[in-house]
Symmetry: C2
Subunit: 189 residues, 2 copies
């Protein structure tokens, strides 16, 4: 039983999505703007490319184009309140890191800070960009990866029993994974 | 405590990601190839654009370029085994829908079938494409949306208590959301 052929935009079919926080370096104070987003995807393994979508009207968009780089940080579910709050204000008027108690960490490959409480973060060099409709896809080549100790297994896969990932459902709702549901189907799940 | 400055590729920082199944129309038998992927993202709200990443070496890539369209279907967690199995074979040699018991549904806007057991599916017209590293980003404009009755609320947001979304963690592991964790942080979560 389906509501067939509904208009595009009838639902947010693409959620839930993992939340990440884009860091963009500023020349003044604050030093770094923070923008939580979910429209992002890996684009290539070799070279390692990661794409983020930002509206051309955002402060982060201007900063990334100016500096030619950005960071991407993954905060755990416990930070849902701060992430939601960060998404409701513009970095043009607010020092988000200071206002929401977010600690910045020093980059190792580039010049843009990332988030010290992230279980994973990457530093990206802007290598390409394309406008699609009302957004810009900013393509970063990953220059360095930061991982919280114990967050990933020896294969580089997240340990869901150690890290509660933060996912967004739409309409200001967040959730995390059901650890008990994790499994490999071919093992008889 | 962080493993700082690890090499790009040290971990799959971008998982968990929602799983979708790309449908690509074929002229012969099978009529439709099915490819489960997670490297996908909305790209624009107006117009409604959705991007999927496919390797140029895949059968689906060739079919999408030939037909100029694709479908994207979201199967619930209960289909994890079929999804994992679909990802292990090529549509060049196997009729995946037939082999894995997947029922196809008739399109309403375009000519590419989608999956009848999906809680959400969209029909996309290929409007743009870009090569990024070892993948191609295929950009589709959403022409029609199909939703299972009751799967989405009046705001178009997934009802996690009705639909168990299927997410991929890497290394052949799948999971779903913890329904009890869903909340709006500003409500005091």
């Amino acid at each position: 039983m389906l509501q067939d052929g509904a208009a595009p935009g009838a639902c947010y079919f693409y959620y839930p999505r993992l939340v990440c926080v884009v860091g963009a370096r500023d020349d003044g104070v604050p030093t770094t703007n923070l923008a939580p987003i979910t429209w992002a995807t890996p684009l290539s393994t070799d070279p390692p490319l990661f794409g983020i979508c930002l509206s051309p009207q955002t402060h982060s968009h201007a900063l990334v184009l100016r500096t030619g780089e950005f960071s991407v940080s993954y905060l755990p579910f416990a930070f849902a309140s701060q992430v939601a709050a960060m998404g409701r204000v513009s970095g043009r008027s607010v020092d988000k890191a200071r206002q929401f108690g977010i600690r910045l960490a020093e980059p190792t490959a580039l010049a843009t800070p990332w988030l010290a409480d992230a279980y994973a973060a990457v530093e990206c060099l802007l290598v390409d960009r394309h406008h699609f409709g009302d957004q810009t896809l900013l393509v970063g080549e990953v220059q360095a990866v930061h991982m919280a100790t114990g967050a990933f297994d020896e294969d580089g896969v997240l340990r869901p029993e150690q890290v509660r990932a933060l996912v967004y459902l739409g309409n200001r709702r967040y959730a995390t994974l059901d650890v008990a549901s994790v499994g490999q189907p071919e093992d008889g799940q």
